[in-house]
């Protein structure tokens, strides 16, 4: 069921971000990568501003700076020139290109542009260039991020690397593919949990060491921190691949097919049952017992559920988020007895596979404003502030952008401890 009530032709207070923004986010988790947006200059400027006010970090994002002539003659030459100039000037280890509505509309073939560039500049053949197709008019941040992670894996961890890897691992490696619903703090937590089972995680992309807001950063227009290029080459050796968020399932399947690694997808990591499923899988593939630390955290979560069951049961929540995050938070709230009154996803992705007690619909924040009146709490990104203000409802910030509350990128809302924190934050926002 989608869009049943909203017959409007326009988006009012959109919660969507552009797919190219999602692409930027994925690229920002890869070390030494220079992200190059194939579009006009505003596209990259708005993305930098949006991500910067969310993460409070500088956002390195270059652009092919298309102008009127490229609209007439195509952006091919601009793309070739952009890659060459960026490669010469900034010496990145990888260049990550994402397309935009403009270039997809006039149909720039990025693959053949790259081939043509390689003929003119044979010295650039060895520089890995990832090409992600992210037209602005298909999907939201989640789709752009998803397509870009898939492009990263296909380009940097394809069949060709298989034989070349000879690494003696002291600990078995495990591949983690976090979706864009996880904050750098969440990814950090994820890596810790996996390490507790004796695994060495390879995380793609790894925002927990690039966008985690640390003070050591050089003046460079390439990504610092994040997944190493060598890490991609170690993927075939991983004993399993775990993907998080339904949008990451396809990326996990790519790894499974290419390198015959078992793959497990976890649509959510928030909530008791969701975390149990994850922990039990880890115990099974590692052959180890669940560590005492995690059992203790689980026990604390159970106690919290008992202590606050009544308050949680009284909540009536209107939620508008990107699909994977919406499902993670809403299913956790349903699990503890809260009612979801409205569930609006930013885009179609996953909407038919995931379910809540009420239908999940695609909608904007104006629709949230029109339908959340009888609720006790709104969960949405910071742009939900207009709806919350008009309805005089408390507003728990989640998703992207969150620019008017401090510390969101560092928040951990996954695992037993994170679930407990999420419930605390939810309850504190209505008290």
């Amino acid at each position: 069921m989608t869009n049943t009530t909203n017959m409007r032709h326009y988006q009012g207070n959109p919660q969507k971000n552009s797919p190219a923004l999602g692409a930027t986010l994925a690229y920002l988790g890869v070390n030494g990568l220079l992200a190059l947006l194939h579009g006009s200059q505003g596209c990259s400027s708005f993305i930098r501003l949006q991500l910067s006010r969310h993460y409070k970090e500088p956002i390195p994002l270059n652009s092919t700076a298309l102008l009127e002539d490229s609209v007439i003659f195509g952006g091919w030459e601009h793309l070739k020139k952009g890659i060459a100039v960026a490669a010469d000037k900034y010496k990145p280890q990888i260049i990550g290109v994402m397309s935009t509505g403009l270039t997809e509309t006039f149909g720039d073939d990025m693959v053949s542009a790259l081939t043509s560039l390689h003929q003119e500049r044979p010295d650039l053949v060895d520089l890995p260039v990832v090409l992600a197709n992210t037209p602005d008019y298909i999907g939201s941040m989640q789709e752009g991020y998803q397509r870009t992670v898939e492009a990263l894996l296909t380009t940097l961890a394809g069949h060709s690397i298989k034989a070349s890897v000879q690494l003696s691992e002291e600990a078995p490696s495990i591949a983690l593919l976090p979706g864009c619903h996880l904050t750098p703090g969440d990814v950090d937590e994820l890596k810790e949990i996996v390490a507790d089972f004796g695994f060495k995680p390879i995380t793609i992309p790894d925002l927990s060491i690039s966008l985690d807001g640390h003070a050591e950063l050089e003046a460079a227009p390439v990504v610092q921190g994040g997944t190493l290029l060598e890490d991609f080459q170690r993927l075939p050796k991983c004993s399993a691949c775990l993907s998080f968020g339904l949008s990451m399932e396809k990326a996990g399947e790519i790894l499974k097919k290419t390198h015959q690694i078992p793959h497990f997808n976890f649509p959510s990591l928030t909530g008791l049952k969701a975390t149990d499923a994850f922990i039990l899988t880890l115990a099974k593939i590692s052959g180890k017992a669940v560590p005492e630390k995690l059992l203790r955290q689980r026990s604390r979560l159970l106690d919290t559920l008992a202590d606050y069951h009544d308050q949680l049961g009284g909540l009536k929540i209107a939620i508008a988020l990107e699909m994977d995050l919406l499902y993670s938070l809403a299913s956790c709230l349903v699990e503890v007895g809260s009612e979801i009154s409205v569930a609006l996803a930013a885009s179609q992705g996953g909407i038919h596979q995931l379910s809540l007690p009420i239908p999940i619909e695609v909608g904007d924040l104006e629709e949230l404003e029109e339908r959340a009146g009888q609720s006790t709490l709104i969960i949405a990104n910071s742009n939900g502030r207009q709806a919350a203000g008009l309805l005089k409802l408390p507003h728990l910030r989640a998703g992207l952008p969150v620019f008017d509350r401090v510390g969101y990128p560092q928040k951990r809302w996954i695992g037993y401890e994170g679930t407990q924190q999420f419930l605390f934050d939810t309850l504190n926002s209505v008290s």
Binding site: P14, S18, S40, S45, F46, L49, Q50, A65, P135, A215
Partner: protein
């Protein structure tokens, strides 16, 4: 359907070729990392502060979705301008065209939000798929009782300055002078052109204007109401505030409505006083001029007395200044007022004249920042090791990595810095930034080097 760029009066004078001068007449190169913006962004910066109208962006989500309600322009009344409205062009629209969707959207928004007018922004994708925004707006207008105004500003036309100018043309052609009733000039009245009421800047200036008996008809477009803009042609004087991106507008208003214009700035004590005196002179009222001279002296004395404590703390600090528009030069004297020396200065998005004026005001020893990319900016910081950086928000988080005090003076800020009142706020905020104990903590080695441990 596009604005004819050759008619846009892009340059106020011939392009200056000095190193570091803003590249108004140069295209950005692909891959060079110039970090500039587009014509659509320029148009929205100028028009979106109009508070009681709807701003509908006819484009895919990238144009409005990433940017709505993200500037600090403030309103004393309607909040409608903050609503993010877009046709959200999808794949089907790219194939079949988006004109029907656009028209339906306009009609629905008129009904749902009862705006005083609707501005419709064309974007790259809507232009490439050939949607005739002008025609759709005309058709919709016939069915409604409000103006529906197309703004043809696809991003690929160029950078922000071009968008600013397109917005100026739209205001001139479709808004200013369309009010019913008298066209007579209102004595001692002015418009502030290019003042966007960021963080409530205007509200720090209005009391001084009122005390002098000067009527502010409207700002163009900070905290502006549509009706007030329609009557903007009744002003006796146009005061051009932010950059000269709207020079085309004031020139045309001078020719058509006989409104003279002058440039001014309300940043800093010196520039605020000078601007008020120049306004009084331009309004040609000897009594007003006399009042103003006495008034600004009094306000200057009061303000200087209030900021004396801050000045003592900031005196002889070394700064790097990097901004755009009128602030390029106005901030030079503002910092000088506090006894701060400028080690290096640079600009983006301002005119060659603004740049020249900054250069003249700065000490000859100050360096001009030539490479205006993030990398170039950081290189200067590393070389000069300033005590503080005063710049726009987009460099803020990068500058923090250099562990240097940083003050955001552009649209992301929360506090008003205009007028005498704003100068006090500016001095206070800057002092708090520069003297914050955190910079000392950030610069401590950890673990301490061995020789320091003893």
């Amino acid at each position: 359907m596009f604005t004819n760029l050759t008619k846009l009066d892009l340059l106020d004078k011939k392009c200056m070729s000095d190193a570091g001068s803003p590249k108004l007449c140069m295209k950005a190169l692909p891959g060079e990392g110039a970090e500039r913006s587009c014509a659509y962004d320029g148009a929205r910066v100028v028009l979106m502060p109009i508070t009681d109208v709807a701003h509908l962006v006819h484009g895919p989500i990238a144009c409005a979705g990433n940017s709505w309600d993200n500037r600090g322009a403030r309103s004393s009344g309607s909040q409608l301008f903050r609503r993010g409205l877009t046709t959200d062009i999808m794949e089907n629209d790219v194939v079949y065209g988006g004109e029907t969707k656009l028209k339906e959207s306009i009609l629905e928004i008129a009904l749902r939000h009862t705006p005083k007018a609707i501005f419709v922004y064309a974007t790259c994708v809507s232009s490439v798929i050939g949607d005739d925004v002008n025609k759709v707006c005309e058709e919709a207008e016939k069915e409604l009782t409000i103006p529906v105004i197309p703004v043809n500003c696809p991003g690929f036309l160029g950078d922000k300055n071009i968008g600013n100018r397109i917005a100026g043309e739209v205001l001139f052609d479709r808004v200013i002078g369309t009010a019913e009733g008298s066209d007579e000039k209102i004595p001692l009245s002015i418009n502030l052109i290019g003042e966007y009421n960021i963080a409530g800047d205007i509200w720090g200036v209005i009391p001084d204007l009122q005390n002098l008996g000067i009527t502010l008809l409207t700002a163009i477009t900070g905290d502006a109401k549509f009706e007030d803009l329609r009557s903007a042609h009744r002003a006796s004087l146009n005061v051009l505030i932010c950059s000269k991106s709207l020079t085309n507008l004031v020139r045309k208003m001078e020719i058509k409505y006989g409104i003279p214009f002058m440039e001014g700035s309300f940043y800093g004590i010196h520039d605020t006083s000078e601007t008020l005196i120049n306004i009084a002179k331009a309004l040609k009222d000897p009594d007003l001029l006399e009042r103003t001279l006495v008034y600004v002296q009094k306000r200057e004395d009061e303000t200087r007395k209030t900021i004396a404590g801050y000045k003592a703390l900031l005196e002889n600090k070394q700064a790097i200044l990097f901004t755009g528009g009128v602030k390029t030069w106005s901030m030079v004297s503002t910092l000088a007022e506090l006894g701060i020396n400028i080690l290096a200065g640079g600009t983006q998005n301002s005119t060659p004249e603004d740049f020249q004026r900054m250069k003249e005001l700065m000490d000859p020893s100050a360096q001009i920042i030539e490479d205006t990319s993030s990398a170039g900016f950081l290189k200067i910081i590393a070389e000069k090791k300033p005590d503080l950086i005063v710049a726009g928000g987009k460099t803020k988080y990068l500058a923090h990595k250099t562990r240097t005090p940083f003050l955001d003076i552009n649209h992301g800020r929360k506090l008003p810095y205009a007028g005498y009142q704003g100068m006090i706020q500016f001095a206070e905020t800057l002092t708090r930034t520069v003297l914050s104990p955190v910079w000392g903590l950030l610069k401590q080695d950890f673990p301490p080097k061995e020789d320091e441990q003893a």
